[in-house]
Symmetry: C3
């Protein structure tokens, strides 16, 4: 039987915790980046500050749901290979999304990375939904 | 004794997971809706895009705290009937809030739905607070 | 061996749950404050409404990651004294941050409180990261 506990004894949880910490650290780093930008540029409106700001907000919209859904998903006792694939895909998409947003790289690079992360979130949500009871 | 574990063996958790996935899916759907709107309308400012945007932000402010508080609330071993009532009330209020926001329906429909969801969040927070230690 | 379960039998979790509920309640209170302000002032743009709004957004950027990281951090089985220090420091910084934002107190009071909370989040994230597997 698959291990579905929220503890480091469960290898799926240990892996989830790693990738959740990676994407949360990345999101936290955006706050520092925004502040540094504001201190050095100090305009009321600036294109670069606004880009960092929107990128940070996009992270909050995607990374926070991922961590919440991931916690619930781990408790469904998923297949370890499938779970690892989703966690890595999400982390990779969000890191590349930030690079595409801040460089900035030409579209559709950013939109594709957003869709990749969004797909994982939807997939985790549906798995949790169908495991739950109402 | 009430079951307070974060696992699908606990019927309260199984129910929480279902409703948490419902409201998170609804929130994720808002991102897609915003993007589709932006792609078809493409203005710098548009009343409809802004409404979807604010509705999405309102979801993040309410749905993410609900899922966090719900996880902590389940561990307090609440009465199953009370817990089910809160989870269903929150999900119903947030779905109706989105409908009221996007249709848009005349006020106070939206404010009342917001208050319903907010009340559940406050109630869960107080239960967790009084179960915790400082 | 340190207790690392997500249950009130674990004193570290019981303490985390208390402080998580405190900072989430504070964040929820900001929504009510924003609405009350809007109803009494009703301008399209107002300096005070905008300050409450930005303060609320700043909470979402910091408080929600704290609760997520805290849940994962508890499962690493941290030293109880260290854990208690981080939880209290975060809650104190965020409460003082809000006071500094809304009074408003002269800088750098607000920035220092932000840095304090941010430091705790980074510290929790690094602990979870180094405990996880990839």
């Amino acid at each position: 039987m698959a291990n579905s506990s929220l503890s480091f004894d469960n290898p799926i949880f240990a892996q989830f915790a790693f990738y959740a910490a990676v994407v949360l650290l990345k999101t936290l780093a955006m706050s520092v980046y925004t502040i540094r930008f504001r201190l050095t540029k100090k305009p009321t409106f600036d294109e670069d500050v606004e880009r960092v700001r929107r990128c940070h907000l996009n992270d909050l919209e995607n990374v926070l749901p991922f961590v919440l859904l991931g916690i619930l998903y781990v408790t469904t006792g998923p297949d370890p290979g499938t779970a690892a694939f989703y966690f890595r895909m999400f982390a990779a998409c969000r890191i590349m999304h930030t690079i595409a947003y801040l460089t900035p790289l030409p579209q559709p690079s950013r939109v594709l990375m957003f869709i990749g992360g969004h797909f994982v979130n939807m997939r985790l949500a549906v798995t949790v939904l169908t495991s739950g009871s109402f």
